[in-house]
């Protein structure tokens, strides 16, 4: 039973998080910051997710190339 629950959890972890948890965490943080800033100010907040992707994508590729060396 425990083995099945573990396999079920591993499937969802692999499906959603994939092989780089930093990306998932970064996206979650960026969306949370966008939400918080949009609630507290009237300034445009669309750039936060753009900046997050601009940082996360090369960072994730860089981490992957580092692991392969």
């Amino acid at each position: 039973m425990i083995r099945r629950i573990r396999a079920f959890g591993a499937f969802w972890y692999d499906f959603i998080i994939g092989d780089d948890w930093v990306v998932a965490l970064g996206v979650m943080l960026a969306l949370a910051i966008t939400f918080a800033v949009s609630r507290s100010t009237d300034t445009p907040v669309w750039w936060i997710i753009v900046a997050a992707v601009a940082i996360l994508l090369p960072l994730s590729v860089f981490r992957a190339t580092g692991r392969r060396r």
């Binding site: 907040v45 753009v50 994508l57 994730s60 060396r69």
Partner: protein, 194 residues
């Protein structure tokens, strides 16, 4: 809903795009799709696959189940997001069913293995679309308002594609500097597949 689905699309898209960039820049081997197709076909045709419960062929059952679950979930996320965005989920569901029918009819008509589809180019394009739509919906769901509203997607999609191509060039250059022989081999391998 939009922030959840947009966030998921963005995470999936970044994973796809990372792998596409790694393949295109020579850091990850390209799949030999023809070989994968042949080995999967051989495994599927292997006699003696056991019957379990109501499933006559357990191998075929698990293969179909995995495919339908994974791809079906992605389709459900995309259709829900489109529907929620336009406040018309039934229309988005009907469009998704129509798209599935069209793809099934084309698949039956063409009857060719997926190895003939340029895998990395396709994954690159899917990754770009997922990231652009994920950014758009995720940020909108979190309270952001895009300049140009929906037309912002017309800027986001090419911008993400150009950024990803720039990263391919950058990481290909790093491969060439680090190991000129390996980079040449990777580029040659890619050229034979494209």
């Amino acid at each position: 809903m939009r922030v959840f689905v947009g966030g998921l699309l963005l995470v999936f898209g970044l994973q796809w795009l990372r792998k596409a960039i790694l393949r295109a820049s020579g850091h990850k081997a390209l799949h030999d799709e023809a070989m994968v197709f042949e080995s999967t076909l051989a495994a599927a045709r292997r006699p003696g696959d056991q019957r379990r419960g109501l499933a006559v062929d357990w191998y075929a059952f698990t293969l179909s189940y995995k495919g339908v679950l994974l791809e079906g979930l992605e389709v459900a996320f995309i259709a829900l997001t489109f529907g929620a965005n336009q406040h018309n989920i039934p229309l988005a569901a009907a469009a998704a069913i129509a798209a599935a029918l069209v793809v099934a009819v084309v698949g039956i008509a063409v009857r060719a293995p997926l190895s003939r589809v340029p895998e990395n180019s396709m994954k690159f394009a899917v990754g770009v679309m997922l990231v652009a739509f994920g950014m758009f919906w995720g940020a909108e769901g979190a309270g952001a308002h895009w300049p140009l509203d929906d037309a912002a997607l017309l800027v986001l999609v090419p911008a993400v594609a150009l950024y990803a191509l720039a990263l391919v060039a950058l990481f290909r250059r790093r491969t060439a500097i680090a190991s000129p022989v390996n980079a040449d081999a990777a580029i040659t391998e890619e050229a034979t597949h494209s």
